[in-house]
Protein backbone atom coordinates (compact mmCIF):
# COMPACT_ATOMS: atom_id res chain seq x y z
CA UNK A 1 0.00 0.00 0.00
CA UNK A 2 1.45 3.32 -1.02
CA UNK A 3 1.48 6.13 1.53
CA UNK A 4 1.23 9.71 0.37
CA UNK A 5 1.12 12.35 3.12
CA UNK A 6 -2.29 14.03 3.22
CA UNK A 7 -2.74 16.92 5.61
CA UNK A 8 -6.16 17.81 4.20
CA UNK A 9 -7.65 14.48 5.26
CA UNK A 10 -6.54 15.17 8.81
CA UNK A 11 -8.16 18.60 8.71
CA UNK A 12 -11.35 17.24 7.09
CA UNK A 13 -11.87 14.62 9.76
CA UNK A 14 -11.18 16.91 12.68
CA UNK A 15 -13.57 19.51 11.27
CA UNK A 16 -16.39 16.94 11.58
CA UNK A 17 -15.76 16.46 15.30
CA UNK A 18 -17.28 19.80 16.29
CA UNK A 19 -20.83 20.74 17.17
CA UNK A 20 -22.72 23.95 16.73
CA UNK A 21 -21.46 26.57 19.16
CA UNK A 22 -18.26 24.82 20.19
CA UNK A 23 -15.39 27.10 21.16
CA UNK A 24 -12.29 25.90 19.34
CA UNK A 25 -8.64 26.90 19.37
CA UNK A 26 -6.66 25.89 16.30
CA UNK A 27 -2.87 25.86 16.50
CA UNK A 28 -0.68 27.38 13.84
CA UNK A 29 0.25 25.18 10.87
CA UNK A 30 -1.63 21.98 10.11
CA UNK A 31 -4.40 22.64 12.70
CA UNK A 32 -5.24 25.93 10.96
CA UNK A 33 -6.35 23.93 7.90
CA UNK A 34 -9.24 22.52 9.95
CA UNK A 35 -11.01 25.86 9.58
CA UNK A 36 -11.36 25.23 5.83
CA UNK A 37 -13.50 22.11 6.30
CA UNK A 38 -16.16 22.97 8.87
CA UNK A 39 -19.36 21.26 7.61
CA UNK A 40 -22.22 23.36 6.42
CA UNK A 41 -24.72 24.03 9.17
CA UNK A 42 -22.11 23.92 11.92
CA UNK A 43 -20.94 27.20 13.39
CA UNK A 44 -17.97 27.09 15.70
CA UNK A 45 -16.40 29.98 17.56
CA UNK A 46 -12.68 30.26 17.05
CA UNK A 47 -10.63 31.52 19.97
CA UNK A 48 -7.20 32.99 19.37
CA UNK A 49 -4.83 32.87 22.33
CA UNK A 50 -3.49 36.37 21.73
CA UNK A 51 -6.89 37.77 22.63
CA UNK A 52 -9.93 37.25 20.49
CA UNK A 53 -13.12 35.30 20.08
CA UNK A 54 -14.72 35.10 16.65
CA UNK A 55 -11.56 34.79 14.57
CA UNK A 56 -12.35 35.38 10.91
CA UNK A 57 -10.49 34.75 7.68
CA UNK A 58 -7.41 36.62 6.51
CA UNK A 59 -8.20 40.05 5.09
CA UNK A 60 -7.90 40.84 1.41
CA UNK A 61 -4.54 42.17 0.28
CA UNK A 62 -4.21 45.80 1.23
CA UNK A 63 -6.77 45.51 4.05
CA UNK A 64 -4.36 44.16 6.68
CA UNK A 65 -4.71 45.67 10.15
CA UNK A 66 -1.77 44.77 12.39
CA UNK A 67 -3.87 45.43 15.48
CA UNK A 68 -5.84 42.27 14.63
CA UNK A 69 -3.58 39.25 14.28
CA UNK A 70 -3.74 35.53 14.92
CA UNK A 71 -1.51 33.44 17.18
CA UNK A 72 1.11 33.39 14.46
CA UNK A 73 1.16 37.17 14.25
CA UNK A 74 -0.52 37.24 10.82
CA UNK A 75 -3.33 39.73 10.12
CA UNK A 76 -6.82 38.25 10.38
CA UNK A 77 -10.35 39.63 10.70
CA UNK A 78 -12.95 39.51 13.45
CA UNK A 79 -16.42 38.15 12.74
CA UNK A 80 -19.58 40.01 13.68
CA UNK A 81 -20.23 39.39 17.36
CA UNK A 82 -16.58 38.65 18.07
CA UNK A 83 -14.59 40.39 20.76
CA UNK A 84 -11.10 41.14 22.02
CA UNK A 85 -9.49 40.68 25.41
CA UNK A 86 -6.07 40.83 27.02
CA UNK A 87 -3.68 37.88 27.39
CA UNK A 88 -4.50 37.15 31.04
CA UNK A 89 -8.21 36.92 30.22
CA UNK A 90 -7.46 34.85 27.13
CA UNK A 91 -5.58 32.26 29.14
CA UNK A 92 -8.21 32.39 31.86
CA UNK A 93 -10.64 31.34 29.14
CA UNK A 94 -8.26 28.59 28.08
CA UNK A 95 -7.29 27.20 31.49
CA UNK A 96 -10.74 27.76 32.92
CA UNK A 97 -12.27 25.09 30.70
CA UNK A 98 -14.17 27.52 28.48
CA UNK A 99 -12.52 26.22 25.32
CA UNK A 100 -14.17 23.00 24.11
CA UNK A 101 -11.52 21.79 21.70
CA UNK A 102 -7.88 22.56 21.13
CA UNK A 103 -6.17 21.20 18.03
CA UNK A 104 -2.38 21.14 18.16
CA UNK A 105 0.51 19.98 16.04
CA UNK A 106 2.76 17.14 17.10
CA UNK A 107 6.41 16.18 17.24
CA UNK A 108 5.60 13.06 19.26
CA UNK A 109 2.46 11.77 20.93
CA UNK A 110 2.35 8.64 23.03
CA UNK A 111 -0.22 6.11 24.17
CA UNK A 112 -0.35 7.61 27.67
CA UNK A 113 -1.68 10.80 26.10
CA UNK A 114 1.61 12.64 26.49
CA UNK A 115 2.32 15.29 23.87
CA UNK A 116 5.69 16.72 22.83
CA UNK A 117 5.55 19.61 20.39
CA UNK A 118 7.67 22.53 21.57
CA UNK A 119 11.30 21.56 21.76
CA UNK A 120 13.99 19.36 20.25
CA UNK A 121 16.88 19.87 22.68
CA UNK A 122 19.98 21.21 20.98
CA UNK A 123 18.23 21.55 17.62
CA UNK A 124 15.02 23.51 17.76
CA UNK A 125 13.76 25.41 20.77
CA UNK A 126 10.89 27.62 19.63
CA UNK A 127 9.18 27.59 23.02
CA UNK A 128 5.77 26.42 24.11
CA UNK A 129 3.91 29.67 23.52
CA UNK A 130 0.37 28.96 24.64
CA UNK A 131 0.44 25.23 23.95
CA UNK A 132 1.00 24.06 27.52
CA UNK A 133 -1.94 26.10 28.79
CA UNK A 134 -4.17 24.97 25.94
CA UNK A 135 -3.43 21.31 26.48
CA UNK A 136 -3.95 21.47 30.22
CA UNK A 137 -7.09 23.60 30.02
CA UNK A 138 -9.17 22.67 27.00
CA UNK A 139 -12.00 20.19 27.50
CA UNK A 140 -10.90 17.99 24.58
CA UNK A 141 -7.34 17.87 23.25
CA UNK A 142 -6.86 16.75 19.65
CA UNK A 143 -3.37 16.04 18.38
CA UNK A 144 -3.25 16.56 14.60
CA UNK A 145 -0.34 15.05 12.74
CA UNK A 146 0.87 13.31 9.66
CA UNK A 147 1.25 9.70 10.71
CA UNK A 148 4.92 9.54 9.81
CA UNK A 149 8.02 11.65 10.37
CA UNK A 150 10.04 12.43 7.22
CA UNK A 151 12.30 9.53 8.24
CA UNK A 152 9.32 7.16 8.00
CA UNK A 153 8.98 6.50 11.73
CA UNK A 154 5.54 6.97 13.22
CA UNK A 155 4.96 10.07 15.32
CA UNK A 156 2.72 7.96 17.57
CA UNK A 157 4.94 6.35 20.19
CA UNK A 158 4.88 4.06 23.19
CA UNK A 159 6.72 6.75 25.11
CA UNK A 160 7.63 10.27 24.08
CA UNK A 161 11.37 10.89 24.08
CA UNK A 162 11.22 14.68 23.65
CA UNK A 163 10.38 17.13 26.46
CA UNK A 164 6.64 17.06 27.10
CA UNK A 165 4.25 19.89 26.39
CA UNK A 166 1.79 18.21 28.74
CA UNK A 167 1.43 14.90 30.51
CA UNK A 168 -1.62 12.67 29.91
CA UNK A 169 -3.82 15.34 28.39
CA UNK A 170 -4.35 14.16 24.79
CA UNK A 171 -7.81 12.71 24.11
CA UNK A 172 -7.66 12.10 20.35
CA UNK A 173 -4.97 11.71 17.74
CA UNK A 174 -6.00 12.25 14.13
CA UNK A 175 -3.46 11.31 11.49
CA UNK A 176 -3.77 10.86 7.75
CA UNK A 177 -4.37 7.14 8.39
CA UNK A 178 -6.98 7.16 11.11
CA UNK A 179 -8.63 8.50 14.22
CA UNK A 180 -7.41 7.22 17.59
CA UNK A 181 -8.68 7.78 21.10
CA UNK A 182 -6.32 7.53 24.05
CA UNK A 183 -7.88 5.28 26.69
CA UNK A 184 -6.18 3.29 29.43
CA UNK A 185 -2.62 3.86 28.16
CA UNK A 186 -3.46 2.54 24.70
CA UNK A 187 -4.36 4.04 21.35
CA UNK A 188 -7.82 2.81 20.39
CA UNK A 189 -8.33 2.88 16.64
CA UNK A 190 -11.86 4.22 16.11
CA UNK A 191 -11.69 4.97 12.40
CA UNK A 192 -9.47 3.97 9.51
CA UNK A 193 -9.26 6.32 6.54
CA UNK A 194 -9.63 4.48 3.26
CA UNK A 195 -7.68 3.08 1.47
CA UNK A 196 -5.63 2.23 4.56
CA UNK A 197 -6.36 -0.73 6.82
CA UNK A 198 -6.08 -1.45 10.50
CA UNK A 199 -3.40 -4.05 9.72
CA UNK A 200 -1.32 -1.47 7.85
CA UNK A 201 -1.61 1.00 10.73
CA UNK A 202 -0.67 -1.60 13.36
CA UNK A 203 2.29 -2.77 11.32
CA UNK A 204 3.65 0.73 10.70
CA UNK A 205 3.11 2.21 14.16
CA UNK A 206 5.48 1.63 17.05
CA UNK A 207 2.81 1.72 19.74
CA UNK A 208 0.11 -0.45 21.27
CA UNK A 209 -3.02 -0.05 19.20
CA UNK A 210 -6.32 -1.61 20.12
CA UNK A 211 -8.62 -2.03 17.12
CA UNK A 212 -12.14 -1.51 18.32
CA UNK A 213 -14.73 -4.05 17.26
CA UNK A 214 -16.78 -1.16 15.91
CA UNK A 215 -13.82 0.47 14.19
CA UNK A 216 -15.14 2.03 10.99
CA UNK A 217 -13.62 2.59 7.61
CA UNK A 218 -14.16 6.19 6.51
CA UNK A 219 -13.92 7.80 3.08
CA UNK A 220 -12.68 11.39 3.35
Amino acid sequence: MEYVANKDNIAKRIARMFHNGDVVNLGIGLPTLVGNYIPEGVTIILQSENGMMGLGPAPEAGQENYDIVNAGGAPVTVLTGGCFFDSATSFGIIRGGHVDYTVLGVLEVDQQGNLANYKVPGKMVPGMGGAMDLVSGARVVIAATLHFEPSGKSRMKRHCTLPLTAAREVNYVVTDLGLFEVVGDRFHLREVFAPFTAEFIKEKTDADIVVDTDCRVIEL
Partner: protein, 228 residues
Protein backbone atom coordinates in the same frame (compact mmCIF):
# COMPACT_ATOMS: atom_id res chain seq x y z
CA UNK B 1 -7.39 64.80 36.92
CA UNK B 2 -3.61 65.11 37.21
CA UNK B 3 -1.93 65.03 33.84
CA UNK B 4 1.16 62.90 33.27
CA UNK B 5 4.36 64.17 31.67
CA UNK B 6 4.40 63.75 27.91
CA UNK B 7 7.97 62.90 27.00
CA UNK B 8 9.91 62.04 23.87
CA UNK B 9 10.83 58.49 22.98
CA UNK B 10 14.48 59.32 23.71
CA UNK B 11 13.57 60.61 27.17
CA UNK B 12 11.58 57.44 27.75
CA UNK B 13 14.49 55.25 26.70
CA UNK B 14 16.78 57.31 28.96
CA UNK B 15 14.81 56.12 31.98
CA UNK B 16 16.09 52.58 31.46
CA UNK B 17 19.33 51.98 33.37
CA UNK B 18 21.99 49.39 32.62
CA UNK B 19 20.96 46.09 34.17
CA UNK B 20 17.29 46.99 34.57
CA UNK B 21 14.47 44.50 34.16
CA UNK B 22 12.03 45.72 31.53
CA UNK B 23 8.67 44.51 30.29
CA UNK B 24 7.64 45.20 26.71
CA UNK B 25 4.07 44.68 25.51
CA UNK B 26 3.09 43.16 22.19
CA UNK B 27 2.52 39.83 20.50
CA UNK B 28 4.75 39.16 17.51
CA UNK B 29 5.28 42.94 17.34
CA UNK B 30 1.53 43.62 17.16
CA UNK B 31 0.77 46.11 19.93
CA UNK B 32 4.40 46.82 20.75
CA UNK B 33 5.61 50.38 21.46
CA UNK B 34 7.67 50.68 18.29
CA UNK B 35 8.62 54.35 18.70
CA UNK B 36 10.11 53.75 22.13
CA UNK B 37 11.72 50.47 21.03
CA UNK B 38 13.65 52.36 18.33
CA UNK B 39 14.84 54.89 20.91
CA UNK B 40 15.92 52.11 23.29
CA UNK B 41 17.89 50.64 20.42
CA UNK B 42 19.62 53.98 19.75
CA UNK B 43 20.43 54.82 23.38
CA UNK B 44 21.31 51.14 23.85
CA UNK B 45 21.29 50.38 27.59
CA UNK B 46 22.85 46.93 28.00
CA UNK B 47 22.67 44.02 30.43
CA UNK B 48 18.89 44.20 30.55
CA UNK B 49 16.47 41.48 31.56
CA UNK B 50 13.48 41.31 29.22
CA UNK B 51 10.03 40.06 30.08
CA UNK B 52 7.87 39.70 26.98
CA UNK B 53 5.77 36.95 25.49
CA UNK B 54 8.04 36.70 22.44
CA UNK B 55 10.96 38.45 20.79
CA UNK B 56 9.08 39.16 17.54
CA UNK B 57 10.83 38.14 14.34
CA UNK B 58 14.36 37.99 13.04
CA UNK B 59 14.82 36.00 9.87
CA UNK B 60 18.44 35.47 8.90
CA UNK B 61 17.61 34.68 5.29
CA UNK B 62 15.61 37.82 4.51
CA UNK B 63 17.25 39.98 7.17
CA UNK B 64 13.79 41.08 8.30
CA UNK B 65 13.63 42.17 11.94
CA UNK B 66 10.49 43.33 13.77
CA UNK B 67 9.68 44.86 17.16
CA UNK B 68 11.74 43.62 20.10
CA UNK B 69 13.89 41.73 17.60
CA UNK B 70 15.78 45.02 17.05
CA UNK B 71 16.88 45.07 20.70
CA UNK B 72 17.88 41.40 20.63
CA UNK B 73 19.97 42.02 17.51
CA UNK B 74 21.57 44.97 19.36
CA UNK B 75 22.58 42.51 22.13
CA UNK B 76 20.94 44.48 24.92
CA UNK B 77 19.62 41.55 26.95
CA UNK B 78 21.44 39.28 29.37
CA UNK B 79 18.30 37.36 30.19
CA UNK B 80 14.96 36.92 28.44
CA UNK B 81 11.71 35.57 29.87
CA UNK B 82 9.45 34.60 26.97
CA UNK B 83 6.91 31.97 25.93
CA UNK B 84 7.98 31.73 22.30
CA UNK B 85 11.17 32.60 20.41
CA UNK B 86 10.55 30.41 17.37
CA UNK B 87 10.39 33.23 14.83
CA UNK B 88 13.51 35.00 16.05
CA UNK B 89 16.60 33.15 14.88
CA UNK B 90 18.94 35.62 16.61
CA UNK B 91 17.37 34.96 20.03
CA UNK B 92 17.84 31.25 19.41
CA UNK B 93 21.41 31.80 18.28
CA UNK B 94 22.27 33.85 21.38
CA UNK B 95 20.64 31.23 23.60
CA UNK B 96 22.49 28.32 21.97
CA UNK B 97 25.79 30.24 22.09
CA UNK B 98 25.29 30.94 25.80
CA UNK B 99 25.31 34.71 25.18
CA UNK B 100 21.81 35.28 26.50
CA UNK B 101 19.94 33.26 29.08
CA UNK B 102 16.41 32.38 27.94
CA UNK B 103 13.77 31.16 30.37
CA UNK B 104 10.75 29.78 28.53
CA UNK B 105 7.50 30.37 30.40
CA UNK B 106 4.12 29.08 29.22
CA UNK B 107 2.21 32.04 27.84
CA UNK B 108 -0.70 31.82 30.25
CA UNK B 109 1.64 31.42 33.21
CA UNK B 110 3.62 34.45 32.03
CA UNK B 111 0.45 36.55 31.92
CA UNK B 112 -0.56 35.39 35.42
CA UNK B 113 2.95 35.88 36.88
CA UNK B 114 2.88 39.48 35.67
CA UNK B 115 -0.69 39.95 36.86
CA UNK B 116 0.31 38.57 40.28
CA UNK B 117 3.27 40.95 40.35
CA UNK B 118 1.01 43.89 39.69
CA UNK B 119 -1.77 42.77 42.00
CA UNK B 120 0.25 42.19 45.14
CA UNK B 121 -0.07 38.42 45.07
CA UNK B 122 2.63 36.04 46.28
CA UNK B 123 2.19 33.87 43.20
CA UNK B 124 -0.42 31.80 41.46
CA UNK B 125 -1.27 28.09 41.24
CA UNK B 126 -1.62 26.72 37.72
CA UNK B 127 -2.00 23.23 36.29
CA UNK B 128 0.02 24.33 33.26
CA UNK B 129 3.40 22.64 33.11
CA UNK B 130 2.74 19.86 35.63
CA UNK B 131 4.76 16.82 34.58
CA UNK B 132 6.95 18.81 32.18
CA UNK B 133 10.34 20.54 32.33
CA UNK B 134 8.52 23.68 33.45
CA UNK B 135 7.89 21.96 36.78
CA UNK B 136 11.62 21.68 37.58
CA UNK B 137 12.57 23.57 40.73
CA UNK B 138 8.99 24.60 41.46
CA UNK B 139 6.76 23.79 44.37
CA UNK B 140 3.88 21.46 43.50
CA UNK B 141 0.76 22.10 45.56
CA UNK B 142 -2.21 19.76 45.52
CA UNK B 143 -5.65 21.30 45.91
CA UNK B 144 -8.69 19.00 45.99
CA UNK B 145 -6.59 16.19 44.56
CA UNK B 146 -5.29 18.18 41.58
CA UNK B 147 -1.63 19.16 41.19
CA UNK B 148 -0.68 22.77 40.53
CA UNK B 149 2.63 24.58 40.13
CA UNK B 150 3.36 27.57 42.29
CA UNK B 151 4.41 30.25 39.83
CA UNK B 152 5.99 33.29 41.45
CA UNK B 153 5.19 36.89 40.55
CA UNK B 154 7.16 38.92 38.02
CA UNK B 155 7.75 42.65 38.26
CA UNK B 156 9.99 45.07 36.39
CA UNK B 157 11.81 48.36 36.79
CA UNK B 158 10.23 49.74 33.63
CA UNK B 159 7.29 48.63 31.49
CA UNK B 160 7.02 49.86 27.91
CA UNK B 161 3.46 49.51 26.71
CA UNK B 162 1.42 50.63 23.75
CA UNK B 163 -2.21 51.77 23.48
CA UNK B 164 -4.40 52.92 20.62
CA UNK B 165 -5.60 55.94 22.50
CA UNK B 166 -4.65 57.68 25.71
CA UNK B 167 -5.70 60.85 27.47
CA UNK B 168 -3.20 63.16 29.14
CA UNK B 169 -3.94 61.63 32.54
CA UNK B 170 -2.85 58.22 31.24
CA UNK B 171 -6.20 56.47 30.81
CA UNK B 172 -5.72 53.98 28.01
CA UNK B 173 -7.80 52.19 25.39
CA UNK B 174 -6.41 49.38 23.26
CA UNK B 175 -7.39 48.16 19.81
CA UNK B 176 -8.06 44.62 18.64
CA UNK B 177 -5.61 41.96 19.75
CA UNK B 178 -2.99 44.67 20.29
CA UNK B 179 -4.08 44.77 23.92
CA UNK B 180 -2.37 41.44 24.65
CA UNK B 181 0.23 41.77 27.43
CA UNK B 182 0.07 45.57 27.63
CA UNK B 183 -2.83 45.46 30.08
CA UNK B 184 -1.08 43.36 32.76
CA UNK B 185 2.34 44.92 32.21
CA UNK B 186 0.86 48.34 32.96
CA UNK B 187 0.30 47.14 36.52
CA UNK B 188 3.58 45.39 37.25
CA UNK B 189 6.47 47.85 36.90
CA UNK B 190 7.87 50.65 39.07
CA UNK B 191 7.81 52.93 36.04
CA UNK B 192 5.24 52.58 33.28
CA UNK B 193 5.69 54.38 29.97
CA UNK B 194 2.70 54.28 27.64
CA UNK B 195 3.15 54.94 23.94
CA UNK B 196 -0.15 56.07 22.46
CA UNK B 197 -1.19 56.43 18.85
CA UNK B 198 -3.81 59.03 19.59
CA UNK B 199 -3.33 61.46 22.47
CA UNK B 200 -6.48 63.23 23.64
CA UNK B 201 -7.49 65.68 26.36
CA UNK B 202 -8.67 64.45 29.74
CA UNK B 203 -12.39 63.83 29.52
CA UNK B 204 -12.41 62.76 25.91
CA UNK B 205 -12.37 59.06 26.76
CA UNK B 206 -15.59 57.69 28.19
CA UNK B 207 -14.72 56.39 31.69
CA UNK B 208 -16.67 53.21 30.86
CA UNK B 209 -14.29 52.44 28.03
CA UNK B 210 -11.00 52.90 29.86
CA UNK B 211 -9.07 49.61 29.91
CA UNK B 212 -5.95 50.71 31.81
CA UNK B 213 -6.63 53.18 34.60
CA UNK B 214 -4.49 56.31 34.60
CA UNK B 215 -3.05 55.51 38.03
CA UNK B 216 -0.85 52.83 36.46
CA UNK B 217 0.77 55.15 33.91
CA UNK B 218 3.73 57.39 34.76
CA UNK B 219 4.79 58.83 31.40
CA UNK B 220 3.22 59.19 27.98
CA UNK B 221 4.95 59.10 24.60
CA UNK B 222 3.18 60.01 21.37
CA UNK B 223 3.71 57.25 18.81
CA UNK B 224 5.56 58.22 15.66
CA UNK B 225 6.65 54.90 14.24
CA UNK B 226 3.64 52.71 13.60
CA UNK B 227 5.18 50.05 11.40
CA UNK B 228 7.07 47.20 12.97
Amino acid sequence: MIEKPIITAAEAAGKIKEGDTIMIGGFMASGSPHTVIQAVKEIAPKGLTLISTDTAAHDFKSGRITGIGHLVANKQFKKIFASHIGLNQETQRQMNAGETEVELVPQGSLAEKIRAGGAGLGGILTPTGVGTEVQEGKQVITVDGKAYLLELPLTADVALIKAKKGDKAGNLVYAGTACNFNLVMATAAKLVIAEVEELVEVGEIDPNEVQTASIFVDFIVKAEKLDM
